[in-house]
């Protein structure tokens, strides 16, 4: 079987992997130990395999690993900083938005991507976003609430940072 090398960044770390040319990104990520990326349908329909590639949420089950060459990939494993959870992760826990957890990594990453480019989404925008993450457990209400709450928490944090800066704080 032919192999090829790809070079990419995953969660900020440089990686060089040997893959088969037809390998899908989902399979390679899981093979390399990123178990948080889930297999749900293998047709790009359910969103369980969502990861961020160059800040965009994509379905890794229909992306060829070779296409990730030179890209920055973020999986759920890359979100928390040690014990400190990302605000979206915290919001999901606080709002009971996690039940079985299988769709959760995909939802959280998708939400992260949205909040990065659109810090004040409307409920309709969040629903449109989460329509790409199928969930059979929650009925979507709490995940939508969690994303909106994370947006608000992000606002409060930014305001706090701004006021700290303007007060001449020395810490970044």
């Amino acid at each position: 079987m032919k192999t090829m090398e790809i070079r990419l960044k995953v969660n900020g770390e440089s990686k060089q992997w040997s893959i088969a040319p037809g390998d899908l990104l989902l399979d390679v990520l899981r093979r390399e130990g990123y178990f948080g990326v889930k297999r749900g349908c293998e047709r790009g329909e359910c969103g369980a395999c969502t990861v961020l590639v160059n800040d965009k949420a994509i379905n890794s089950c229909v992306m060829f690993a070779a296409q990730a060459e030179g890209c920055e990939v973020i999986t759920i494993e890359g979100l928390a900083r040690g014990d400190e959870l990302d605000p979206v992760q915290e919001a999901f826990l606080d709002h009971g938005a996690v039940q079985c957890g299988y769709c959760t990594p995909g939802m959280i990453l998708n939400a992260k991507a949205l909040l990065t480019r659109c810090p004040h989404p409307t409920e309709e925008q969040v629903r449109d976003l989460l329509a790409g993450n199928y969930c059979r457990c929650t009925g979507y209400r709490k995940p939508v609430e969690a994303v909106l709450a994370a947006a608000q928490a992000g606002d409060r944090r930014n305001k706090a940072k701004k006021s700290t800066r303007s007060a001449g704080a020395t810490r970044p």
């Binding site: 606080d94 079985c100 929650t138 209400r141």
Partner: protein, 782 residues
């Protein structure tokens, strides 16, 4: 409510929450096992056929193939795949591999190979000559004289009448419905049809098995029923139960589809044949047609009332199909009777049901377990009765509904496949559910518009019509006298505890709820409880996650075990504090005196003292079951908007008011209700497994099997009503299933309110709406 409770009733974060939001390896597939082979099953392309010849030589010769199994290679042990307590009420009509196939997707053979690609290639190399047999696809013809016999094998057991394709037959009567109808002043008789629904767990079925160093068969599986799976695998593979070790990791949803021993036997057989770890993982497509589904039913219901709304007689006659095998055939349909009719105090009730085999995908357990079908029929007719009598639909319910103190006799007649126990209603919050739900949806003002609910929106001539409807339901909490659970609790030297439970958290939050119950009872914080669940070597028995039993039955066992452990803690503390144990109580991670003297010692100190001074391991266990199954009650209200030009139905609001006894974790309880609502709305409006006329499923993908997404969901409101059930830990009953029963009839009733048309077939599709509107207007078909 008991204001002294500090943990139970609180929105404690899920104990496995951090693991899940950080994507830690926790699910069945989240491990690398060196040397693991890929197992795959060859599905039958025919709905009904005999295998005349099967030649696996080419497949076996393919490099990388380690085993190819056919019916010739495995023991023939009749069994059921239904995850039920032994002896299972479902017929023993299934075989690991057989020389006959009975539906498109049935097992023909299985391979284990070094990669998925090789396994798939091997399947293609298996040569099979089939003798194609005429198939029975239509349940209405399954019992016809001369219909092909699906189970003509001699060794199956427990089939009611195989020669007529009759898997199960149920007939129960209370009083005399004939007399009841004679005394009625209004009799309505209607027929309803419900479809096949698939669970669509985000994680398809998956099992990994291997032989450990002691040559025991270890099975790591996405299952709701690890203990039943252990017993069944042992029986089928003809090895002792003690040689089988089943582990249930985190599960990506089950909803009843995993209340089944589905892949474990085949996976184990391949491991035994190859001596290697083997993984069988369903693709989404396989999950759709080779797993399980909800029983489709044709329900004829006849209800008789007096003019004042008093129900006199209720007769339900059901024809259901269980597909090619009888998993849960008797019990699901039994529930259609036993959990549906008795919600009203009808003196005369009759339930008759034929459950037939057809050469179609196999039905099994699915959240609600027969109730969604039954309540669709019954609550639709109740709505019709109310309309005929000029009564508010809620008033009609109030007049007839079962109350606290009542005895439900029908349950006595319709136990799980045998005579059951009568059900005493000790707690019933249905009146509050009706009140609070109606208020939440603004029932009074939204109903005022008149029975056809003509409320033009916005401009004149808008094609949109809105309406509201309601329905109510009950379920059970555990199976009386049959479901049971046990728990072990041991204390660690820092005052933490290991809670070992056989209970299966399939995403439902069971681990969290059980931790909360233990913590409350022990007087410690929830984070002091380390939950270890569902490992047949390390956790004691539990029937598994089904029948809404975990909180009440597993929780009951946990509470008992925790009470015993608390006694031991108090006994040690009493020595430490020199106080009699009955003057001590556990609270806030401490043991404190009840009296004013305020002596206390931390739970951690008690632990250290016990371990190193007393040389005592504080630990105990308990088993628990109930002789009754206290029903949770639920009233659901739907507001819909019908586009009379396109037939599209939008659900705008869905209110669920549910009496769950007590919410151990209110946020989790709400989440259960909200997920159930989503599944029920899909059942009402968009989900259907479609089969072509050769019995093949034509929409085995999310593209064409439409479940609700975040964009489809209405505004949901969940109201938790608490009634403190005596049989439940801290008063809890259940909530896992009941909210899935009434949204479909509530939506159908709301549609009637909006456009004056009744739909008696699910799913209600836009084309059906347009056709009905045209008929109503007396227009010709296009």
């Amino acid at each position: 409510m008991n204001s002294e409770r500090s943990i139970v009733g609180k929105n404690v974060r899920k104990v496995d929450g951090i693991k899940l939001v950080t994507g830690r390896p926790a699910f069945t597939d989240d491990i690398h096992i060196p040397g693991m082979l890929c197992g795959k099953i060859l599905p039958s392309p025919h709905a009904h056929a005999r295998i005349k010849r099967i030649d696996t030589r080419k497949a076996k010769a393919l490099p990388g193939v380690h085993a190819v199994l056919t019916y010739k290679d495995v023991p023939r042990v009749p069994h059921t795949t239904a995850g039920q307590t032994w002896p299972e009420p479902s017929p023993y009509d299934t075989y690991l591999l057989d020389s006959k196939v009975r539906f498109v997707g049935d097992r023909v053979a299985a391979v284990a190979a070094e990669s998925r690609a090789i396994a798939e290639e091997a399947l293609r190399l298996i040569e099979v000559d089939y003798e194609i047999l005429p198939a029975v696809l239509d349940m209405e013809h399954a019992m016809d004289r001369g219909a092909p016999v699906i189970h003509d094998e001699k060794d199956s057991k427990g089939i009611h009448d195989a020669s007529r394709n009759l898997a199960a037959y149920i007939l129960r009567e209370i009083g005399s419905t004939e007399e009841g109808f004679r005394e009625s002043e209004l009799v309505i008789e209607r027929e309803f049809r419900t479809q096949r629904q698939q669970h669509c767990p985000l994680e398809p079925h998956i099992t990994i098995s291997w032989l450990d160093s002691d040559n025991r068969l270890v099975i790591r599986s996405s299952t709701q029923v690890p203990y039943h799976a252990r017993r069944q695998v042992a029986m089928i593979l003809q090895i002792p139960v003690q040689r089988v070790h089943v582990i249930k990791p985190r599960i990506g949803g089950g909803f009843g589809g995993k209340q089944e021993m589905l892949l474990e036997d085949m996976c184990g057989a391949l491991t035994l044949a190859t001596r290697r770890p083997v993984k069988i993982e369903y693709t989404r497509e396989e999950e759709f047609y080779m797993a399980r589904s909800r029983h489709p039913q044709i329900l004829r219901i006849k209800m008789g009332v007096k003019r004042d709304g008093t129900l006199m007689a209720n007769e339900m006659t059901v024809l259901a199909t269980t597909g090619a095998y009888g998993s849960h055939a008797d019990t699901v349909q039994g529930n259609t009777g036993s959990k549906v009719l008795p919600i009203y105090r009808t003196p005369n009730m009759r339930f008759e049901c034929h459950v037939v085999y057809t050469n179609t995908p196999v039905a099994g357990a699915f959240r609600g377990y027969g109730c969604p079908q039954g309540y669709f029929a019954q609550e639709s007719v109740m709505d019709e009765i109310a309309h005929e009598l000029g009564m508010d639909p809620i008033e009609l319910r109030r007049k007839n509904m079962i109350r606290a103190g009542d005895l439900d006799q029908l349950s006595a007649e319709l136990g799980e496949g045998k005579k059951g126990l009568p059900r005493l209603i000790r707690s019933c919050g249905l009146p509050q559910c009706l009140d609070r739900g109606a208020a939440a949806i603004d029932w009074e003002s939204k109903r005022k518009v008149g029975p056809n609910g003509v409320r033009p929106l916005g401009e004149r001539g808008s094609p949109l019509r809105r309406g509201v409807g309601m329905a109510c339901s009950m379920q059970g909490s555990g199976i009386a006298g049959i479901d049971w659970a046990s728990a072990l609790l041991k204390m660690n030297e820092d005052g933490s505890f290991n809670l070992q439970v056989g209970a299966s958290d399939v995403g439902t939050g069971a681990d969290t709820v059980l931790a909360q119950i233990a913590a409350e009872t022990l007087g410690v914080a929830t984070d002091k409880i380390i939950v270890c669940s569902s490992d047949t070597d390390f956790t004691p028995f539990d029937v598994g996650a089904y029948a809404s039993s975990t909180t009440i039955i597993s929780g009951g066992a946990v509470k008992k075990a925790a009470e015993k452990v608390r006694e031991q803690i108090l006994s040690v503390a009493s020595k430490m504090l020199d106080e009699p144990a009955d003057n001590l109580t556990c609270r806030d991670n401490q043991v404190v005196t009840k009296c004013e003297c305020r002596k206390s010692v931390t739970i951690a100190d008690v632990a250290l003292h016990a371990m190193y001074k007393e040389k005592l391991q504080i630990m105990d266990g308990a088993s628990h079951f109930n002789t009754d199954s206290p029903p949770p009650f639920c009233a659901q209200f739907a507001e819909v908007e019908v586009d009379t030009e396109t037939g599209r139905i939008r659900v705008l609001n869905l209110v669920t008011a549910v009496d769950l006894g007590l919410a151990i974790n209110p946020m989790q309880a709400e989440g259960q209700a909200e997920g159930a609502v989503a599944q029920s709305l899909g059942y009402a409006l968009s989900e259907e497994m479609m089969l072509d006329d050769s019995g093949r499923m034509v929409n085995p993908s999310f593209r064409d099997y439409k479940i609700f997404t975040a964009k489809d969901m209405p505004n949901i409101t969940t109201i938790l009503v608490e009634t403190e059930e005596p049989l439940g830990p801290y008063g809890a009953k259940s909530i896992a299933e009941v909210p899935i029963n009434a949204p479909a009839p509530a939506v159908a009733n709301a549609i009637y309110h909006a456009i004056g048309v009744r739909f008696r077939k699910l799913p209600i599709r836009p084309e059906d709406v347009l056709r009905a509107l045209r008929e109503k207007a007396g227009l010709p078909h296009r």
